[in-house]
Point group: C2
């Protein structure tokens, strides 16, 4: 199923560091000569590029949990690809792999940290979604840091996103009450009807944090034991006062603040809610635990086994939002940061031959 190798490849580089929300001119599509794999290397054609909120942090020139992307360097990202040329003993032409190829149509790999995929087990695209980085983020954040107990109540933002949707479904499978927060009525309906959440609130319909808090209070009559934090902003402000004693807040993201420069270290406007937050942590003896999934890849085999089984049993469903063509990646990414995606955001870079 391999095709002849074209003479050029395309990639999207960081043209400028965004001020606030990224715009089209912060990215540049380039054509370059197709690289050739050296000894011990192989050439991969990208099928699926994953777009994830953390990428916004990489565009800023400040310390994050990984280095910044340099200006004129390709945007980074996890991908599913097909090996189309190989000098590597363990990767053959036709192999499907999950690798960090970046926003590129093709890339050279040495095989380090590359995972081979079997398309008969699950659709290839899930390797960067529900069975990939977002999936294990949900799994570790919920189980290791959330410490869920049957009968407790969990709140998760970005409820229909790649991470939030799995957090909620895994929590439901463990007997928790699950309340999502999402942007728009359509997503909220999906969270309840398809994902099985007990309730889902539309933060866009709530005037402010206080209005959202009133709705959450109604949806969480026994308070909130776990707030899975992936959004920050208004949702955080609304949930905090509802936290129960000994509640847990795993923190894996804060998309609501990324464009405000939060990962760049600048300060957002509005009143200083910090004393209030610190007070809630103290009075309610909360555990707030930041985590980065790359610290926890030792749990990958267990995660894969458990979540694959739940998918097979129909207890976990997932939804993909697909942008067509590498050139659509910047627009799709900007939309993602505004919550415009509905489900795991992918870019179909080349046709998936197994689909």
């Amino acid at each position: 199923m391999s095709t002849s190798i074209p003479q050029t490849m395309q990639r999207i580089v960081l043209a400028a560091r965004p001020q606030g929300a990224p715009k089209a001119t912060d990215f540049r599509l380039e054509s370059i000569d197709m690289p050739e794999p050296g000894p011990g290397e192989f050439l991969v054609k990208t099928l699926w590029l994953s777009l994830d909120p953390y990428m916004r942090g990489r565009m800023d020139d400040s310390k994050s949990y990984a280095a910044s992307i340099a200006i004129d360097a390709p945007m980074e990202g996890g991908c599913v690809g097909e090996v189309i040329a190989s000098n590597h003993p363990k990767f053959a032409v036709g192999d499907f792999v999950e690798d960090r190829l970046g926003w590129q149509s093709h890339a050279i790999s040495k095989g380090q940290g590359v995972r081979k995929l079997d398309p008969s087990i699950a659709p290839l695209s899930t390797a960067v979604g529900v069975l990939g980085m977002p999936g294990i983020t949900a799994y570790v954040g919920l189980n290791t840091h959330g410490r869920p107990k049957s009968g407790e109540t969990l709140v998760v933002g970005a409820a229909t996103g790649a991470v939030g949707s799995l957090v909620g479904q895994l929590a439901k499978a463990q007997g928790l009450r699950v309340v999502g927060v999402a942007g728009g009525a359509e997503k909220c309906t999906y969270a309840v009807e398809q994902l099985g959440f007990d309730a889902c609130l539309d933060h866009r319909a709530a005037e402010d944090a206080s209005a959202l808090r009133s709705q959450l209070a109604q949806a969480c009559p026994d308070g909130v034991d776990i707030y899975f934090e992936n959004v920050g902003g208004k949702t955080l402000e609304a949930v905090l006062p509802l936290m129960n004693v000994h509640g847990r807040i795993p923190v894996c993201g804060m998309i609501g603040w990324y464009n405000a420069g939060a990962l760049g270290g600048s300060i957002s406007s509005g009143p200083n809610i910090m004393p209030k937050v610190w007070r809630t942590i103290l009075v309610n003896r909360l555990s707030v635990q930041g985590f980065i999934i790359t610290d926890h890849y030792d749990q990958f085999p267990n995660f894969l086994k458990e979540v694959s089984a739940l998918i097979a049993q129909g207890k976990v469903v997932y939804r993909e939002s697909i942008a067509e063509g590498l050139e659509s990646a910047p627009q799709a990414f900007m939309k993602l940061l505004e919550g415009g995606n509905f489900g795991k955001q992918l870019v179909a870079v080349s046709p998936d031959p197994t689909r």
Copy 2:
């Protein structure tokens, strides 16, 4: 050593809820008839009243980790007292006890949660200080939530206070580098020369959080692994950017924000530092753990044994700041909230016959 029982007793009640910093008119000294112990009760004469920052929270009319003090009710507080009349089978006249008698010269007790004290083991006043609630707060916060490892760096605010001074000394005994933050040069000198801290910075001499951060960065060349949070405010802002990956922040108080109404739930002025704080928690995978010492009294026997031994060995020293007479309590408390105390703040309510 008991004396005849007077016909009246004195107490200080909450006259009004403070707006911001408490003022003298928020308290009222009253004389009332001396109560008589009923069956199974005993009458205690207060020797030492402990003044602690948490009391500020009790003065506000909002949910804290304990109920508010009602208007016209006596201020609450831990005390050391002497039993002067008893109908209780286990407490005899002449016994010394630690009890929550409140800001009162005398009180009736039923013996619940009352600890008998042996003045030959340690001075009685330590039962509300280094060997009492502040002491176990330091012990549990450091060991259970701070999880110290030899060679790590710890920062603690209010470094010469009842909690901070023991946190630092216990950490030193476990081989950590200890850097304190305190108000004024005299306290800083004491922290280094008497408490054995590696360094202590004067937050009053630092123009702002940024200036304090520069000094802390110099004093903590390997970053900060544990920030024992008992002050909030400028110190928190200065320390956060210095936290190492997998750092721990036990949160037991935030005196720097109490008068700003933080425990009353209002919002302090200044820019919203919350996105920055949340970002640091995420990027550096911090554990932030609020705790209330009453959840951890099962550790009291171990605490008492270990810290008593360290005091006997001269590895832990403590300092008391004594205000004379119950009537001086409001003034001493207001001063405490401004950092005007130097060491554990006590009120000598009646002469300690063992002193």
